[in-house]
């Protein structure tokens, strides 16, 4: 295997054994970026000799969990002095004056940050086609989307342009691209990872999480980024664990629920077959699998498309041309400054969602839309809680299909539908991981989603790790 194909844990072993130095590793990944980036286009900003030579600091950080390991960071996470654009013209030249907490943690762990990855603008999208700058291509088939909104991060991992990456997930934006790109993506329990420094989209739904080549790497990254942060008042104290202790091949007695209403929705037959085949493997390994009944996922999708835009309309009100970011040249008066800046700075999807959100929160409509969606949210959360009283995990496909072709979905609603299986998880605030479970007849990756109860990352990791060993496809890499 090439150095750029290795996982975090393999790289660490080689460093410890003296077989590889961090400088050699960084060079291998930089060379790989040079080799494939013009075809994949994962990165908005590649950090070469730019800010902070982490390698120089290696001796001081040798004991760090990620010492010498190249990591990519989605471009909605603040990096001090390094452009953080959210793939938007609004922040095209914005350099944050501080690091996001997760970035501080990566730095403290000795990670080598390779760059900032492409995404759908302000994390609104499911294909990374909403980036204001360029489109990222799926390393498994360059005519296909990498998914979104963390498409750049997922593609970078799949293409060997970094050992692992951070993404963010509001309605599926880590898990769906992970599924499309054949890598592992975890959205932690809401509150497990600090949002300080993550450019806000929907504050009650956003979470940062790891995108990795395998489950073990996911556990390692969680050990680095999870934990209470006093700077994020929605972050939770006292729940962090050593996630690597769940790296056991053992699902005996684990009760896994298969929601009939999810599987009855119309979706790709090959995806269904692959996911169900993986379920059989888990059964053979001793898991107890049963059908369960849950609220139809389309209600969660409907609630999401009120709540997320509503919160976004509030969070994006700050982009007014006054203190940072774009200010329109046509700004003769204050009103023009606001409206022209926002007209020029925001793309279509962002404007659409801001308007939906504004409308849903406006006087006369608040009760019918926003309040109603918040009540449905309770029903969905209670639904998950009810199942988790008797079950350890819920299992679904991650996405209704394999990676869509680029430019194939012009209708916003059609695009929203690709998140049907992932969105309910954010609505309920529970953790979920997408893990590769096979390939379709076009060799495109298929992902399976394991959902756990609040703070159930451990169970998810254990089942995912077991499944990974049973399926043994995690060493397959995209041919570029």
């Amino acid at each position: 295997m090439n150095i750029y194909d290795l996982t975090i844990h393999e790289l660490k072993e080689k460093i410890a054994a003296g077989e590889l130095t961090p400088a050699e590793i960084k060079k291998a990944y930089s060379d790989r970026i040079n080799e494939v980036e013009d075809r994949v286009k994962s990165y908005i900003t590649i950090i070469d000799e730019l800010a902070g030579d982490e390698l120089a600091d290696y001796e001081n950080k040798k004991e760090g969990l990620l010492a010498g390991i190249p990591i990519a960071v989605k471009d909605n996470m603040s990096t001090d002095g390094i452009k953080t654009s959210c793939a938007s013209k609004m922040l095209e030249n914005y350099k944050p004056p501080y690091n996001a907490t997760v970035v501080e943690k990566l730095n403290e762990a000795g990670a080598v940050i390779m760059g900032k990855t492409n995404m759908d603008e302000f994390a609104m999208g499911s294909s990374t086609e909403n980036s204001a700058f360029f489109v990222t291509h799926n390393p498994w088939n360059l005519n296909h989307a990498p998914g979104g909104s963390s498409g750049g991060s997922a593609a970078a991992v799949a293409a060997g342009e970094c050992a692992a990456a951070l993404g963010s997930d509001t309605g599926g934006s880590i898990r769906q691209p992970a599924s499309y790109c054949g890598v592992v993506g975890l959205k932690p329990t809401y509150g497990m990872v600090s949002r300080y420094g993550l450019v806000a989209f929907a504050s009650s739904l956003d979470q940062i999480g790891p995108i990795t080549k395998d489950v073990e790497d996911s556990a390692i990254l969680m050990n680095v980024i999870a934990g209470h942060d006093p700077q994020d008042s929605t972050s939770i104290a006292g729940k962090k664990e050593d996630y690597t202790k769940y790296l056991k091949e053992d699902v005996s007695g684990m009760k896994i629920g298969i929601p009939e209403e999810y599987f009855n929705l119309e979706f790709d037959e090959e995806v269904k077959a692959s996911v169900l085949a993986a379920v059989e493997k888990l059964k053979e390994a001793g898991a107890e699998v049963e059908t369960v009944h849950m609220t139809d996922a389309s209600y969660a999708l409907a609630a999401y498309y009120v709540i997320a835009p509503a919160e976004a309309s509030s969070n994006l009100a700050r982009y007014d041309g006054v203190r940072y970011g774009l200010r329109s040249e046509q700004a003769a008066d204050v009103s023009e400054m606001f409206t022209n800046t926002r007209h020029e700075g925001f793309g279509d999807e962002v404007k659409r969602r801001i308007m939906i959100g504004t409308y849903a929160l406006s006087s006369g409509y608040y009760d019918a839309y926003y309040l109603k969606a918040q009540k449905v949210r309770t029903l969905i959360k209670d639904d998950f809680d009810r199942i988790f009283n008797d079950f350890d995990l819920i299992l679904t496909p991650t996405a209704p299909s394999t990676a869509i072709e680029l430019e194939s979905k012009s209708d916003p609603l059609e695009m929203y539908h690709t998140d049907i299986f992932t969105v309910p998880v954010n609505i309920a605030g529970v953790p979920a991981m997408s893990v590769p479970c096979g390939f379709d007849s076009n060799e495109m990756p298929i992902g399976l989603q394991l959902i756990g109860p609040h703070f159930g990352e451990g169970k998810i990791i254990q089942a995912a790790y077991t499944l990974e060993k049973l399926l043994n496809i995690n060493e397959k890499r995209a041919e570029l």
Binding site: Y94, K95, P97, Y98, Y190, G191, S204, P230, T234, T295, S298, Y299, A302, A303, Y305, V306, A317, D320, G321, V322, R323, Y324, G325, L326, R327, A331, D333, V334, S335, E336, M337, F338, T339, N340, R342, H343, K351, R352, I354, M355, I356, T358, Y359, S362, Y369, L371, A373, Q374, K375, V376, R377, T378, L379, K381, D411, P412, L413, G429, V430, H454
Partner: protein, 95 residues
């Protein structure tokens, strides 16, 4: 359903400038989305308490102690226009 006036209203509240073509396009697209969202009315939520946050937290406070904050030059570093340590913007009050 939603008509152009509603889109103009929402755009006004959100300080978004839209041209005629955009108004038409968004009216159609947002209409479709809100149509889909209407299915929420199929669920009975009469006695349901709304959920704002899925974590069981209230009143997250900290001691009222002065701590380090962002220095002025850093705060102004991305300013489109600044003068004398202030952000400068077009006049708000008319003469």
């Amino acid at each position: 359903m939603i008509d152009k006036k509603d889109v103009e209203y929402a755009a006004g509240l959100a300080q978004l400038k839209l041209d005629e073509e955009e108004k038409e396009k968004y009216t159609e697209q947002i209409g479709e989305i809100l149509n889909y969202v209407d299915k929420l009315s199929e669920l009975d939520t009469d006695d349901v308490v709304p959920t704002a946050y899925t974590v069981p937290m209230k009143n997250v406070l900290r001691k009222d102690e002065v701590k380090e904050s962002l220095p002025r030059e850093k705060s102004l570093a991305n300013a489109p226009d600044e003068k004398d340590g202030h952000f400068r913007a077009p006049k708000i009050m008319s003469d």
